[in-house]
Amino acid sequence: MGTVAAPAAPMAYGKAVVPRDWTWPQAVVAGGIGLFLLAFLVVPVANVVFVAFVDRASGGFTLVNFQDFLANDIFVRSFWNSIWVSAMCVVWGTAFALPLAYFTTRFQFRGAILVQTLGVVPLIMPPFAGAVAMQLLFGRNGTVNLLLGEWFDINIPFMEGLNGVVFVQAIHYFPFILLNVSAALRNIDRAMEESAQNLGASGFRLFRRIIFPLALPGYVAGAVLVFVKVFDDLATPLLLNVREMLAPQAYLRITSIGIDDPIGYVISVVLIAVSVGSMWISTLFVRGRDYATVQRGGGGLAKRMITGRDAIMAYGVIILILLLVLAPHFGLLLLSLATVWSFSPLPDGFTLRHYERVFFESGQYITNTILYAGLAGVICVVLGVAIGYLVMRTRVPGRHWLDYTAMTALAVPGVVIGIGYLRTYIGVKLPDGTSMAAFWFMIVLALAVRRLPYALRACTAALHQISRSLEEAAENLGATKGRTVRRILVPLMTGGIAAGFVTSFATASVELSATMMLVQRTSDAPLAYGLYVFMQSPAGRGPGAALGIIAVVIVAICTFLAHLLVEKDRAPADR
């Protein structure tokens, strides 16, 4: 411990620079976060998942359930299928995200904010509605295949099997990479780029050797989120009837064989282990290198003009990508305006009455959603900044455990959180005598806990890029630690914080699985619940789609505002 202060050598390794140990305020914050995670993540989940380790006959501890998992070829095959699908989603997600991120942050680009906003929209795929729309467009008898069949007599199986899952998931989750890479690109000092140019690098070489490596923490943060999210995602495989992946297997076991079936939880434990494992590998990957650039006055990459053929190419690529990734929402829009849409390229007719019905019946869903998802987003970024700071800037004992624990939330199925909350808090009475589990704020907490990993990764990536010397300078000038965080770190992290907030908010606004368990009164229900109710009947498909479109518009507006905030924040520096 004491030898860390040795001079010279550590300069390249950010970690070793901190010479002092932890302080009491830091420990108090860490303890508070620890308690929060314990109360709203660990205990509720443990209350449900312990079944994996219990012998069904004797009630004692056992690992025999894990043996059964390994001995069953469906589970083993599901495991490798999940790994393959997740990896392919990262590949395709990268292909979608990098051009969008690069062009919009690197060049003077008309409509950059619009592109950034539209790029986030795919993340908001309302449950049920999104999949129905995708089937109507890309399914075996969807628009595209009906037209292809008519013109060329061919049928492309976009939505079949594992490839279908990759197709849908890559479109759905690539914004994680887009957001994090964009934030990282904005944080790169233009001096780096200029030096490289002075030394003769340009074009793709400049990107490959200088810009991308400097943005690597952001990319890795996004890519690992995509990987883990796809690995744990349940809705898409289920809706495409792909059963041989791990998350659907867990869900099917728990919901059809029963909540006490151990195999379902064995799979959940495997999901959690793989998620935490990939996170850990990703931190190893960026650890030991220094991504921080000291000079912040330049404020991000120089935005250069793009003209002529390059401009046309860039716009072409962007429009093509946007067309593809926004297709589900286009389908949803058509569905929300359709009278009947069945076995035909386009709906039979168009109408506005679905919107009319939704506005009359569902006002409270919309306000509840903004309230819940907004609060959840705020909780996420506050905790994300705090945990990120503790991990990367302090030596509080157990800080890495906070990080790992928070990340496990990514792999916990929503229904497990929901049941865990009911089980843990139904007996706890609030002052007015009602149960704590019935309190609407519990929905907010469930939403926040499951999205904490997004915000945490985004904040950590942002911190990676901020040189410690800036804080040391502030402290040398007499600022306290708290003041340094407030006045130096947080402002410099704005991009990452906004990325974290947007991802948390956007995904929370359409979350269903945990909500479904916790909603106790229609007046407290968020939009996703209303959507579920509508989508359960044939007559409700149109109104459900309309509600989905409203959700998308709300989140898009909020995202747009968040981007405006970020841009405004750096506008003076950019001139």
Partner: protein, 465 residues
């Protein structure tokens, strides 16, 4: 929507059909006597305030009931909480220590049985004159008085007319029609382990045709499946949007789709069953009077008549209501659907419930790819044999069909103590197999039989030339 939740198989009873009915008959007499009072004995304490009902029924069903009930009882509000059956049962179980729910209202009888076994329902004697004891092979009400059938639904085949016309598929009539070559890759169903009503259909086929022949039918139809989905609503959804042509569904999915304007049709096959949908009062319901009033309302003539609305379209349990139904409305009391003489053996169904689910999943759902491959090969050879007969090849195809139809366990084994215990959480003590081990054995069995059948068909194909 009709997903079921099953805790332990021990609780998997359906409304046992054979239990004493005399007490229930007496109940009816009392209820009928009291019915002369304005709203039965529930009015001893006038309902007021909020009545909370957890339901799996869609807005299309609940909204008309909510409107009519609130109009009949001014000052009462009906708070409808939509949850799928599974989540609903779980919710009631998890909130028992501080229950805020008055009623549970859903299709699957087994969900009610789970709640009843866990002492989460309370007894009541509804004030419901004119409702008989049975509908089809089922008793309408729980003999213990814990839950009550309020509507019935039948299972059948639904198809998208635009799709069948475009693909030149004939209209199906019976289950076995779906095994024909024309239907190959055009059919969708829910797996029985995910849908209580599909389970009952499978069990009905097994009881109606016998264990061996029933599984033969199920596997032959299984070979035509485009998909076997895990969401009950996924089936009507796929048929409505024309993604798949033909679906095995519960009747009201098809009727409400028709009401919404989708180009779909529906038929009840001969071997069919009607299943009651139920309602019951949750133990320690905060609003007792309100809960009782709602049950009485649902079972009253007014409530029963609401079931005839086009968007709801379920079969009333009060036979008198059918007089008001439109022409051609199916009536289970006159035998216009289902087998009038068929008696469903609830005891057998209950004992092998989980075994049948697991068999279907391991032999059909989990092996769909192999099953479809060999089914397609058989269709090919049979098409060639139809043009040019070959006795030897035909015999090989018959052997291939036998191989597919083979079962890893007999009907007796399916209800044997060893196997049913494995599905109740036995953990391999006394050398009895665990559930996971059995499932693996069965899935291997099916894979081997499909390989064997594939080999036989390949030989037949060479002979058929």
């Amino acid at each position: 929507m009709t997903r079921k939740t099953r805790h332990t198989p021990a609780t998997d009873a359906h409304a046992p059909a054979g239990l004493p009915v005399s007490r229930r008959a007496a109940t009816f007499a009392i209820a009928a006597g009291l019915a002369s009072l304005p709203s039965g004995f529930a009015s001893a304490q006038a309902p007021s305030g909020r009545v909370t009902v957890v339901t799996s029924f869609s807005n299309d069903v609940t909204a008309p009931f909510k409107r009519a009930f609130e109009a009949a009882y001014p000052g009462v509000t009906l708070e409808v909480q939509n949850r799928n059956t599974n989540a609903g049962v779980r919710f009631v179980q998890e909130t028992r220590s501080n229950n805020q729910t008055d009623l549970f209202w859903a299709s699957a009888p087994d969900a009610f049985e789970v709640l009843k076994q866990a002492n989460l329902l309370q007894q009541y004697r509804p004030n419901a004159p004119g409702i008989p004891e049975r509908i089809g092979p089922y008793t309408i009400n729980d003999p213990g008085g814990y839950y009550f059938g309020f509507a019935a639904s039948g299972y059948g085949i639904m198809w998208n007319e635009r799709y069948t016309r475009a693909n030149r598929i004939p209209e199906p009539k019976e289950w076995i029609d779906l095994a024909k070559a024309e239907y190959f890759d055009h059919v969708i169903m829910t797996t029985p382990s995910r849908s209580g009503t599909t389970h009952l259909t499978v069990e009905t086929i097994l009881q109606g045709e016998g264990w061996e022949k029933g599984w033969r039918t199920l596997k032959a139809v299984g070979g035509s499946m485009r998909q076997i989905t895990d969401r009950s609503f996924g089936v009507p959804d796929a048929v409505n949007s024309g993604q798949v042509g033909v679906g095995i569904v519960i009747d009201f999915f098809a009727f409400s789709a028709q009401a919404a304007g989708f180009p779909v049709k529906f038929v009840y096959p001969t071997v069919s069953t009607v299943v009651p949908a139920n309602i019951g009062i949750i133990a320690n319901a905060p609003n007792q009077a309100g809960a009782r009033a709602f049950i009485d309302f649902v079972l009253s003539e007014r409530g029963q008549t609401l079931l005839l609305e086009p968007a709801i379209r379920r079969l009333p349990v009060n036979p008198a209501i059918y007089a008001r139904a439109p022409q051609g409305y199916p009536n289970p009391f006159t035998g216009s659907i289902g087998l009038p003489n068929f008696r469903f053996d609830v005891g057998v169904s209950e004992r092998r419930y989980r075994v049948v689910d697991a068999l279907f999943d391991q032999l059909i759902t989990g092996q769909l790819e192999g099953l479809k491959r060999v089914t397609r090969a058989i269709h090919d050879v049979e098409a060639r044999l139809a043009r040019r007969a070959n006795v030897e090849a035909a015999a090989l195809v018959a052997r291939a069909r036998d191989a597919i139809a083979a079962m890893p366990i007999t009907a007796e084994q399916a209800v044997s103590a060893d196997i049913t215990a494995a599905f109740r959480g036995g953990s391999g003590q006394n050398r009895a197999p665990r559930q996971a081990e059995l499932e693996q054995q069965w899935s291997n069995f099916a894979r081997d039989r499909h390989d064997e059948a594939q080999g036989l068909v390949a030989q037949a194909a060479r002979l058929a030339g």
